[in-house]
């Protein structure tokens, strides 16, 4: 079991870490756009304090599945869901939880960095708290510092917190977005190809960060980069489109090492050895 305090170093103060990482269970989930299923029949358990990677060819429904986990999917016009997503055993689609509350518990980081262009670095970090009206006026320096430290950005920006967030490099912007997501203190962090707009060294920085934050959060990451999945993920799930025009399916889930060394399904093996997708 995980010890109560982080054994790997003093970088985070355990007393300020969020209470618990949550578990997600996806049960028989089908997500559709305009009545056409994009991904169907998914059953998947996502364990807390682990990194789960979703891999698979383009169009297999990785992003759609990920966006079902914080109900962002339903913000798309014409989108629909059947089945359930259990967040610590409570179904987010039938229980009376507002999407707003779900998204405060399940944070998300996107493929392209999206700092709010009208806000300073500091305001970007606090944006989630202000938008959710969970914070009064004030500078909240402690919250800003804590989130930026956790996102590994503090030392680079501590002297220019008032500069616009858009003035940072791409990798820094992405870490700013991670800080912004962490400041809300979610239990789960969803990441959709968070490194695909970054150069190799910024990618490594973000990967180190992911390994760091999984001590306290549940992380689900979509990636096209199989080495990345191998580097950061404890569990890997492979999705594919069985035949053109059909919805994406979850083919295989397992510990990352097992998936990459001895896949049980032919489709998985073809994909990771580069024969398909």
């Amino acid at each position: 079991m995980a010890p109560p305090t982080s054994p790997t170093g003093p970088s985070t103060d355990p007393s300020t870490c969020p209470a618990a990482a949550a578990r997600i269970e996806v049960v028989d989930l089908t997500a559709s756009y305009h009545g056409r299923p994009a991904v169907a029949g998914v059953n998947l358990k996502i364990e807390p304090r682990q990194v789960t990677a979703l891999i698979g060819p383009s169009g297999s429904g990785k992003s759609t599945l990920l966006r079902c986990m914080n109900s962002m999917h339903l913000t798309v016009p014409g989108a629909g869901v059947t089945g359930s997503v259990l967040l610590d055993d409570v179904d987010i689609y039938t229980a009376k939880i507002s999407p707003v509350e779900i998204r405060q518990r399940v944070g998300m980081v996107f493929q392209r960095p999206t700092p709010f262009p009208t806000m300073s670095i500091r305001d970007n970090v606090l944006a989630g708290l202000h938008l959710g009206r969970r914070l009064g006026r004030g500078s909240h320096d402690d919250l800003v510092e804590q989130a930026l430290v956790r996102a590994g950005l503090w030392h680079e920006v501590k002297d220019r917190l008032k500069a616009p967030g858009g003035r940072l490099s791409g990798g820094q912007q992405q870490r700013l977005c991670i800080a912004r997501a962490l400041a809300v203190e979610p239990e789960i962090l969803l990441m959709d190809e968070p490194c695909s707009a970054l150069d190799p060294s910024a990618t490594l920085t973000v990967e180190d960060l992911i390994k760091e934050i999984k001590q306290t959060y549940t992380v689900v990451i979509v990636t096209h980069n199989l080495q990345q999945a191998a580097r950061v993920a404890d569990t890997t799930a492979f999705l594919t489109v069985p035949a053109a025009g059909e919805p994406g399916r979850l083919v295989e889930v397992g510990p990352t090492e097992r998936i990459f060394s001895t896949p049980r399904q032919q489709a998985t093996e073809d994909y990771i050895t580069g024969k398909a997708g």
Partner: protein, 292 residues
């Protein structure tokens, strides 16, 4: 260069292509030069005529009681323009921006209908707007600055809606998603993320609508009517505007009055240019800021 007979036709057609290209480029450049020259000529002519009379008294005095007399100014028209356009802006900016938010951020059948109506209204000749306000308001309550403001409101509203909706569509969807993903509601996202990001673009749109309204004359003839005699600040009475005074003084036929009209024209051009330049500056800064 030595060229075989087989390559000759190809080279000739290539040369012809170059010649056509050069000719087209020259014609296009000529058209651009002609257009710019014409505009500069108009501006220079207005400036030349206007500067002969424009002076401090023009901006501080009302016209003389007898239009044949020289001297006097358009201060009542300038004040009237500020009041009437001010009221029209105070109404059309918030209503127009709110309507544009509905159009661009909510969609649906109502939004599509409103978008179509906006386009129709933009194309409506402003004299029609004036006639409409005349029939509905002036016939019952008489000429007034408020009636003029109502007519200009109808001129400005579709311009504000169209400009704002267009700017809102330029705001990247990524930002809306990022805000929703942070747990913000749809309304909160619009107020705290979308509108601030589009702010300078929206201001540009409003400024351009103001510039357009300041120059409107036809709808005001049927509503505010004009008042050349004294400064009127009560918008429930008939009022002059800069554009109305230009018109009234120009049609008298007296050289003295026409001199005043030219000075008024120059003042109007300067005001419109100031708004247009302001809009341009803001627009340039805004797009660069929000898109990147």
């Amino acid at each position: 260069m030595a060229a075989g007979p087989s390559t000759l036709p190809g080279r000739r057609s290539a040369r012809r292509g170059l010649a056509v290209n050069a000719a087209v480029t020259a014609v296009l450049a000529l058209a651009a030069v002609a257009a710019v020259a014409l505009l500069l000529w108009v501006l220079a002519y207005v400036a030349g005529q206007g500067l002969r009379y424009l002076g401090p008294t023009f901006l501080t005095r009302t016209p003389p009681g007898d239009p044949a007399q020289a001297g006097g100014g358009f201060v009542n028209g300038i004040i009237g323009s500020v009041i009437i356009v001010g009221i029209a802006t105070a109404l059309s900016a918030p209503i127009g921006i709110a309507a544009a938010v509905h159009l661009a951020e909510y969609g649906g059948r109502l939004a599509r209908a409103a978008g179509f109506l906006t386009d129709v209204l933009i194309g409506l000749p402003s004299i029609v707007t004036g006639a409409f306000v005349y029939a509905l308001w002036v016939v019952n309550f008489g000429f007034s600055g408020l009636a003029g403001a109502a007519a200009l409101f109808l001129v400005m509203l579709p311009l504000v809606i169209r400009a704002t909706a267009e700017v809102l569509r330029l705001v990247p969807d990524d930002l809306r998603e990022a805000s929703l993903a942070l747990g913000a509601s749809h309304a909160r996202t619009i107020v705290s993320i979308v509108l601030p990001t589009a702010r300078s673009g929206i201001t540009t749109g409003v400024l351009l609508a103001v510039a357009r309204a300041v120059g409107e004359t036809a709808p005001l003839l049927l509503t505010a009517l004009g008042n050349d005699l004294f400064v009127e600040t009560n918008p429930t009475h008939r009022m002059s505007t800069l554009s109305l005074q230009i018109f009234n003084n120009a049609v008298t036929g007296f050289r003295t009055a026409q001199a005043r009209a030219w000075a008024g024209t120059l003042t109007l051009v300067l005001i419109v240019l100031a708004f247009s330049f302001g809009a341009r500056l803001l627009g340039r800064r805004g797009i660069a800021h929000s898109a990147r």
